[in-house]
């Protein structure tokens, strides 16, 4: 398919690799963070890092929404799902994320009516089919998914549907990036910026990164050549002494984003004063909740939720992985007590989590040998 095949061309990849080698200073070590879990997945699925010189290190960022969900929110979801009148709907990966006392999948096995959906529109369809039940959708994701939830709620409101509710866990990407940049233990030379978030919000929200923190950022797509070219553009900025927001993903991302999507989000959501991120703690104005106009669809208004903060398991080092401080295989439980089949941490659950990407593509064994 056009816009897919040409961005997987091996020969072009080798040419870009040669350009990267020619751009970097041999004695200098470069650390570039890819913000999105989608980038992490691409890097390991296609072996993008194999095309980089050894002094260019990719660090995996916090841009997997499953990975940053704290255990307490999973507990809240399970509490809602256990109500007998509820059909609880969520995306597949979310079902396997452990709370303090099990997963949604285990709650389903114990009798809760938990169903997997591919979009909030699927959940709304279930609500139409079951007017005698309360259908709750576990909304999760960054600015890419928030418009989908917003449009679904607008549709529900227009249709007068009263048995559809949203358990809102949408988050925004700029506050955690700022928190990361303020972190004293973080050493980065630049960022591969979030491609599809930028489809919605545009490139402008990332201007603070070069302006306030002196780091280049290149918004990049998700095919292997997109990521490779994004890395090259970051390194070229460094080599040329530039520091700015660049857009590699021009075929999709307009600088101003998608105004209609932003309007839909502004209509349906408002910022929470603060929201907890796994490994990063509470970050102010980083989460979304339903606006008063849509409070009738708010699952947290309709159902009591425990709302208890739960500490991560001591052995799990998802927080350090999410901040790029350690590599997944450096975590004490990686590949032993924590595997995709029996995950302890969220980074091992989502197929775009850094730990799962390392595990599924066999990177941990190789990198251990190198070290």
């Amino acid at each position: 398919m056009k816009f897919v095949d040409e961005f997987r061309d091996a020969e072009l990849g080798r040419m870009l690799s040669a350009q990267i080698v020619a751009t970097v200073e041999p004695g200098r070590h470069y650390k570039v963070m890819e913000v999105c879990g989608g980038h992490t997945h691409t890097i390991y699925k296609y072996g993008v890092d194999d095309l980089l010189p050894s002094n260019v290190e990719l660090v995996h960022g916090p841009g997997c929404p499953v990975c940053v969900i704290p255990m307490g929110r999973v507990d809240d979801a399970i509490a809602v799902a256990r109500h007998p009148e509820v059909i609880f709907t969520c995306f597949g990966d979310m079902m396997r994320v452990p709370g303090s006392n099990g997963t949604l999948l285990e709650a389903k096995a114990e009798g809760a009516d938990v169903r997997m959906v591919y979009s909030p529109l699927d959940a709304l369809r279930i609500a139409r089919q079951h007017p005698d039940r309360d259908v709750v959708f576990f909304a999760i994701g960054f600015e890419t998914t928030a418009p989908s939830t917003a449009l679904t709620l607008m549709r529900a409101r227009a249709e007068g549907i009263t048995n559809f509710f949203c358990f809102c866990n949408h988050v925004t990407i700029v506050p955690p990036l700022r928190a990361l940049l303020e972190s004293p233990d973080l050493r980065l030379d630049g960022f591969i910026g979030p491609g599809h978030v930028s489809t919605v919000v545009g490139a402008r929200p990332f201007e603070f990164i070069p302006r306030d923190y002196g780091k280049p950022i290149v918004i990049s797509g998700f095919e292997p050549l997109d990521v490779l070219q994004g890395v090259y553009m970051v390194l070229r900025q460094i080599a040329e002494g530039r520091c700015e927001v660049e857009n590699q993903y021009t075929r999709v991302v307009p600088y101003e984003g998608n105004p209609r999507a932003l309007e839909a989000c502004a209509e349906v959501f408002e910022l929470r004063p603060h929201f907890e991120w796994r490994g990063l703690g509470f970050i102010s104005q980083s989460g979304l909740r339903l606006s008063p106009r849509y409070s009738g669809f708010d699952a947290e208004v309709r159902f009591p939720v425990p709302g208890i903060r739960v500490a991560d398991p001591k052995a799990c080092q998802c927080g350090e992985v999410l901040k790029g401080v350690i590599k997944p295989w450096e975590c004490k439980v990686f590949g032993t007590a924590c595997t995709p089949e029996r995950p302890i941490g969220t980074c091992m659950v989502s197929s775009e989590g850094a730990c799962a990407a390392y595990y599924n593509y066999g990177r941990f064994a190789r990198e251990r040998q190198v070290v």
Partner: protein, 80 residues
């Protein structure tokens, strides 16, 4: 849907089906009413997609779809 189906949905090597900023390029098969259109991905499986965030789409257009919603139209018309 069985428990095995859930596991299969998250099998290694497949894209994350949650929302980690991973969209899918799809081709518009038929523009429908009420902000919806029928689209097909690489596997040619047709599904209903919300397209109200875009200017009017036409059959043959390529769109970037995320969680059932088209966020952007790709390229110039007639290049697909």
């Amino acid at each position: 849907m069985s428990l095995a189906d859930f596991s299969a949905a998250c099998s290694p090597g497949t894209p994350c089906i949650t929302c980690s900023d991973q969209g899918t390029v799809m081709r518009v098969v038929a523009a429908g009413a009420g902000g919806l259109a029928v689209c097909a991905g690489v596997d040619e499986r047709a599904e209903e997609v919300e397209v109200s965030l875009l200017d009017a789409v036409l059959p043959g257009d390529l769109v970037l779809v995320h969680a059932g919603v088209a966020l952007a139209r790709l390229g110039e018309r007639g290049t697909s």
